[in-house]
């Protein structure tokens, strides 16, 4: 046998996986040994096949039934995505999306070696999909006959009258053509790449994905999908204003951005700036949900008088005075005084929030946040004591954070120029994704801190974290959301925009953090005592021990649970409907069925919503498997 290089091993596994590739006889043998090995097995197999057949037929009959009003979904695509975001400013949605798409391309370019897919494998997919379409065409029952008023005809016995099988097949000729084309393309590729020299030829996965997306977008230019568009509360049904028509250009731009981002990422990957660009792209990912939502989508109407008199001076004051304080705190002769100052600052910062609760003295919210951040920076300061370069790092980092926080805070507090049609300016999938992303991004660090607190050797931290986690876990999410939608407005300036949303984000983040903490704790418990001792013995401080040794291993161990938590956070955003936000599911469940044109049309929308939820979660789960395999290297 020739040597086993990884590629040929991988190929061999694929050959085992794809039954089409095995000789006919062995398929039969496989069937006999696996599905028909004895009577009981054979009966189970047949029953299973029957169940699968009935289910497939049921789904197909449902989807293609004459009673389905898919037009309700097509017409409301925009409502499903962004609800009532006004048409006049819709370009903002595209700009936000374009930023995300470009960043995704960039990250894909910088981070990953995506590898290749053998063309033969691709060919089997083509053939398989072609075959599946053909199967579906045959399995679906012939259509029900209609009378002139569009009512279904039934026979004298009361069952529905259907067209003949032959007529049904003839009606579906376009589907037959699609199946045939796919199958033929697959078969041709298959035979051209089955010779020994060519069977290992691969295409890069990135190009396959990119071309696939490109073809999907190209169809927008060819097929006028979505006969109507629902724009600013009215239906536009003239020719030329289909959904496909109004989105073909933006989607094409997205496609180009994705490609450009990828190329730039690839370039950076091979340049000397690779480390810096990785950090940079991560930072952009962290910032972009906040910035896109509050700045791009809301388009705040800045009041420059207020900016000049309050916002700017305050940001500068915190930035500069904080920088000065941190500079002092990182002096090498600071000693215990530094720790004491940091602790006092922390107490003061926390007290500000208590005071806010009781309304003792007024203070701008961003000042409270800034003091809290300054206290954390002061606590971190001992790690930056030393040469000028390290001290400068901390101080510049502080100035950067202050610039960002004050900029965002100003933006958030400024009323939007977007012409709102309802209380919340964004809804649908946009809102769902936004809440999910923010909750995950914010609850992650909080969850890690709670887990560390719960396993800490200080009883006070342990007690606080444990009781927090147990209380939150003992309460349903809905009650947390309701509680916060009542409580949070107490902490916010009167009449602040988006109070409801802020409440949701706070409550949901705190809720999700408790669950994340438990997952992380599971990982922490798997770290052996020896790891702690080794870290101590080489002289790491306990913060370094946690950051370099304990957490990386604990998080790696808990990837599956963490991803499970991320997925369930995403799905449970549908509970936002309960406190009055218009999330994705609610649009399908109550907005569309309330429209006079589509009174009571629910099932179609919900099916589409379910499929889109599934699509996102499937990607997350696939990605986590990839991640697990990659970081698994260190554990072997």
């Amino acid at each position: 046998m020739q040597e086993e290089d990884p590629i040929s091993v991988a190929l061999k596994q694929e050959e085992d996986a794809a039954p089409n590739e095995a000789p006919r006889l062995s398929v039969l043998q496989w069937l006999r040994s696996n599905l028909f090995s004895n009577w009981a097995n054979a009966i189970l197999t047949l029953l299973g096949a029957l169940a699968a057949f009935l289910m497939l037929r049921g789904v197909l009959n449902f989807v293609f039934s004459e009673n389905r009003e898919w037009v309700a979904v097509r017409t409301n695509l925009r409502a499903l995505m962004t609800l009532s975001y006004p048409e006049s400013q819709y370009v903002r949605v595209w700009v936000a999306l374009g930023f995300v798409v470009g960043l995704a391309g960039l990250s894909a370019g910088i981070w990953s070696d995506w590898g290749g897919l053998p063309i033969r494998r691709l060919a089997t997919w083509f053939m398989g999909i072609g075959g599946l379409i053909a199967l579906c065409v045959v399995v679906r029952e012939p259509s029900v006959l209609m009378d002139s008023e569009g009512k279904a005809l039934s026979t004298l016995e009361g069952s529905l009258q259907r067209e003949s099988f032959g007529a049904a097949m003839a009606d579906r000729v376009d589907w037959w053509i699609a199946a045939l084309v796919l199958f033929t393309v697959g078969a041709v590729l298959w035979s051209r790449y089955s010779s020994v020299q060519r069977r290992h030829v691969e295409l890069p996965i990135t190009s396959i994905v990119y071309v696939g997306i490109g073809i999907a977008i190209l169809t927008l230019w060819v097929v006028p999908y979505g006969h109507y568009a629902f724009v600013d509360g009215t239906y536009i049904a003239e020719s030329g204003t289909t959904v496909a028509f109004s989105t073909q250009m933006p989607w094409t731009v997205m496609w180009v951005l994705l490609g450009l981002g990828f190329l730039v990422g690839r370039f950076l990957r091979s340049s000397q700036y690779v480390g810096m660009s990785k950090t940079g792209s991560n930072l952009l990912w962290l910032i972009c949900p906040f910035a896109l939502f509050w700045v791009v989508l809301r388009d705040p109407a800045l009041d420059y008088g207020h900016v000049m008199s309050t916002d700017l001076p305050m940001g500068l004051a915190f930035g500069l005075l904080g920088a000065g304080a941190l500079w002092l705190l990182t002096r090498s002769d600071i000693g215990e005084a530094g720790r004491i100052a940091a602790t006092l600052l922390l107490i003061f910062a926390i007290f500000n929030w208590v005071a806010a609760f009781f309304g003792w003295y007024p203070m701008l919210q961003k000042a409270r946040i800034s003091f809290l951040l300054l206290a954390f920076a002061a606590l971190l300061a001992p790690n930056f004591i030393g040469d000028i370069a390290k001290r400068r790092q901390l101080v510049l980092g502080w100035v950067g954070v202050m610039a960002l926080v004050h900029y965002l805070a100003t933006m958030i507090n400024t009323p939007s120029t977007v012409d709102l049609q309802s209380d919340e300016f964004l809804g649908g999938l946009g809102l769902t994704l936004f809440v999910a992303v923010i909750v995950v991004v914010l609850s992650f660090p909080l969850g890690v801190l709670l887990a560390l607190g719960r396993t800490s050797k200080f009883p006070i931290f342990r007690m606080l974290s444990t009781s927090y986690i147990e209380i939150i876990r003992g309460v349903p999410l809905i009650s947390v959301l309701i509680f916060f939608s009542v409580m949070v407005p107490l902490f916010l300036p009167d009449g602040m925009e988006l109070a409801e949303l802020a409440a949701v984000l706070t409550g949901y983040t705190l809720f999700s953090a408790a669950y994340l903490a438990e997952n992380v704790r599971g990982g922490l418990q798997s770290i052996t005592k020896g790891q702690y001792e080794a870290a101590d013995a080489i002289g790491l401080t306990s913060a370094q021990r946690t950051g370099f040794i304990v957490l990386p291993q604990a998080l790696t161990v808990s990837i599956p649970q963490l991803v499970g938590q991320v997925i369930s956070s995403f799905k449970e955003t549908s509970l936002l409907a309960i406190i009055g936000l218009f999330d994705f599911l609610r649009v399908a469940n109550s907005v569309i069925p309330a429209q006079s044109e589509f009174m009571g049309v629910k099932r179609e929308g919900i099916l589409v919503v379910a499929m889109i939820y599934f699509f996102f979660n499937f990607i997350i789960s696939k990605y986590s498997q990839r991640l697990e395999r990659r970081v698994g290297l260190g554990e072997r």
Binding site: A534, A537, I538, R636
Partner: protein
Amino acid sequence: MNIDDATAAANDRLADRDDMIVCVNVDKFYGDFQALKGVTATIKEGEVAVVCGPSGSGKSTWIRCINRLEVHQGGDIVVDGIELTNDLRNIEKIRSEVGMVFQQFNLFPHLTVLDNITLAPIWVRKKPRAEAESMARALLERVGIPEQAEKFPGQLSGGQQQRVAIARSLAMEPRVMLFDEPTSALDPEMIKEVLDVMKELARSGITMMVVTHEMGFAREVADRIMFMEGGEIVEVGTPEHFFTNPTEDRTKLFLSQIL
């Protein structure tokens, strides 16, 4: 020259050196159980001290008290002039001067060999990465596995892992190395490669305190052997004294079992 003279001569040779580790009446309790009962010993700079004794006699407990992995309740421990108290700064100082090698290696499985070694120099000693890496490669050369730098610990044999662990400790340029049964978890064919590294270290003049049952190693490189039982040091002497003319009955019994 008879054997007791040899012991005396060895004591003389060490007498004018500085004290590196001084333990005076060290007591250690686990709950009600007293694991160390007034351990008193002095280890000189550059000395190689081997600690042996039956299982459960408190060898690990003692050696772990010296870099504060365990906290002693009574008596004093002074390492290189720094007394071990609850003062965090003293503990940090001592830990960066004392290297420790464990029975179970305790390498960091998520870091490459190179990162395992450079972590502490970069973050504790604040060395530039390039300098730390070149030192790490030199240390890997010294322990005989320069080609394994980019691998993960899980991809190495036990003997190689233990040598990486030794290199990791040496990267902090410690003045004292503690070894707690460094070869007990190894297959016989790998014991030698680790012992060879340790012998080379012993000759280089670093202070070493080694808990081990490898009597061949003790005989060859130890300046003194300390025999522990029941949380006490029962007998101390040069290898010649220890193997040919032990005075205590308990030592004789132990040696008859192990040799």
